[in-house]
């Protein structure tokens, strides 16, 4: 069981500490010293479908939160997702249509309430992150909202676009693999 001493801390800190710990641990034990923090932890337990047990002694509340079998699956599912774009146009068929679809897709990503953690661009996809791309504005917006924009370095080289990257960072195959391994869900476009 993972233990957290959150005495002396006020919201949102105790809840944030507990939530972070729950990514790695199935059962956590947390101590807080104010009733609002205790109630916020209990609220989180209800919303996340955790089992919670509270013991109090004076002003100190000790809360044990544990995942059930179904919430273990849930937390895995709700993990951040990433998007992989490996071509310049969306779908196969007309390039003109594919171009319009890609533009619309990336715009839609900027509007969604739950943006991806990362967007990975490789092969023809890197034409979208480099000079002349029609989606630079939207990608810039995503980048400012902390969506990680990564372009494959080998691919930039191949297309002679190494100096033309306009948004995000250059990455390598190791990172491309790692990001996909760590993601809760990967969307291929």
């Amino acid at each position: 069981m993972y233990k957290i001493d959150a005495k002396g801390l006020v919201c949102p800190k105790p809840v944030i500490l507990a939530k972070k710990a729950l990514v790695q641990h199935d059962i956590i034990y947390i101590e807080v010293d104010n009733s609002a923090s205790k109630e916020n932890l209990e609220k989180m337990a209800v919303v996340m479908g955790l089992e919670s047990e509270t013991k109090s002694e004076g002003n100190i509340y000790a809360i044990t939160l544990s995942k059930t079998e179904s919430t273990k699956l849930e937390t895995e599912k709700s993990e951040a997702y990433i998007i992989v774009i490996n071509r310049e146009f969306m779908g196969s068929g007309s390039e003109e249509l594919g171009n319009a679809l890609m533009k619309s897709f990336i715009y839609t990503v900027t509007e969604t309430e739950e943006p991806p953690k990362t967007i990975l661009f490789y092969n023809g996809g890197v034409k979208l992150t480099t000079k002349g791309s029609q989606v630079l504005g939207d990608l810039e917006k995503l980048s400012q909202n902390n969506v990680e924009i990564l372009s494959c370095g080998t691919c930039l080289n191949y297309y002679g676009l190494s100096d033309a990257l306009e948004v995000g960072e250059i990455t390598n195959m190791y990172e491309i693999l790692k990001r996909q391994q760590e993601a809760g869900k990967v969307l291929y476009v």
Binding site: C11, P12, I16, A36, M44
Partner: protein
């Protein structure tokens, strides 16, 4: 200037520092009441300010508000605290006349910081059309700043908490969520950079919204501050002896506040508000994050206006000039078992 983080000097900031409504009520009940028929608004109905009638055509509005820093930038803190204090006059439909500074400041902190806080406040008083005429300061381990404000209003044009009628339309003039966003920013969790949006909302004077109400039949008005949207709505329906229906998807929110609430970046003050409101609210199919933002304590929040339905659209259009986020958020109904229903 030193790079001291103002918010790190305090345990609670902004209107979140307010003593919970339930506790306050029971203490105030014990106070002796001095009967004076010229006191038009006192604390019987948890109104925003006190109003005392001077002549047939003139009443004086008095209010006072101060709190510890909610943000690290001293000038911005001064602006927010002042806009928040001035707001109580606007919530009563009045005009600001004079203001005085209230200051608590640590002995060992750079005077330059204090200067910037006061300058921020003074600029807002000026924007309000008021005159800063003095103040009082004390040494204090946690910095605090605010204003005591005096305004005027015609006794027949007072906008109180009470007076809302069934059938009225409810309008909210600013987005909700500044409490969550500032909590996130102060914990370095503001990943969507929503802080500036929250700051712009908190420094916007309610003067413009108040002036927009001229010429419309407004039945009740209050400003949304520490007790959150539902806490202040509860005060309005209680005082007016009505019930209210809120359409939660119509309520203006800072988008990031909803996603932060989903990630459980939630505040103690919102939980205290939830407890205070208790069973007076029924939620029908309202996700947790939206509920949390409806309880979120606002600092220098918008006005909640209860007006005649036929006036609502014209008023909304006028409000939107300076308050583009203003929305119709619900309506008043005859008093029923549940004082507030959120659908």
């Amino acid at each position: 200037m030193s790079d001291i983080k103002l918010t790190s000097l305090c345990t609670t900031g902004g209107c979140g520092a307010k003593i919970e409504a339930g506790k306050l009520k029971s203490v105030i009940q014990e106070l002796p009441v001095n009967q004076d028929e010229r006191l038009l608004v006192g604390f019987d109905y948890a109104d925003d300010a006190g109003i005392y009638q001077l002549t047939d055509e003139l009443a004086m509005i008095q209010t006072l508000d101060f709190f510890p820093p909610i943000v690290d930038d001293p000038y911005l803190f001064g602006q927010i605290a002042a806009a928040n204090a001035l707001s109580d006059v606007y919530a009563m439909g009045g005009t600001v006349k004079t203001a005085m500074n209230i200051v608590g400041f640590p002995e060992d902190l750079d005077d330059d910081i204090l200067g910037k806080i006061l300058l921020g406040g003074a600029m807002k008083v000026k924007e309000a059309g008021g005159v800063l005429c003095g103040g009082h300061s004390i040494k204090d381990a946690e910095p605090k700043y605010g204003l005591s404000v005096t305004g005027i209003v015609h006794p027949e044009k007072i906008l109180a908490n009470s007076g809302a009628r069934p059938g009225d339309v409810l309008i909210l003039t600013k987005k909700l969520g500044v409490g969550i966003v500032t909590a996130a920013a102060n914990s370095e969790l503001d990943t969507q950079n929503a802080f500036e949006e929250a700051a712009a909302s908190m420094t916007l004077l309610n003067r413009y919204a108040c002036e927009s109400m001229n010429g419309f039949k407004i039945h009740a008005c209050t400003d949304i501050t520490g007790f959150g949207f539902l806490g202040h709505l509860l005060e309005m329906v209680t005082a007016s002896e009505t019930s209210a229906i809120i359409y939660h998807e119509q309520v203006p929110y800072i988008k990031a506040a909803i996603s932060y609430a989903k990630e459980f970046i939630i505040t103690c003050a919102a939980q205290r508000n939830r407890k205070y409101v208790g069973a007076n609210v029924a939620f029908t199919d309202v996700a947790f994050a939206y509920q949390e933002v409806l309880f979120d304590p606002q600092t220098s929040g918008g006005l909640l206006i209860s007006c005649e339905a036929k006036d609502a659209l014209a008023l909304l259009e006028k409000l939107k000039v300076k308050n583009p986020d203003a929305r119709i958020v619900g309506q008043m109904t005859a008093k029923s078992e549940k004082l507030m229903t959120v659908i």
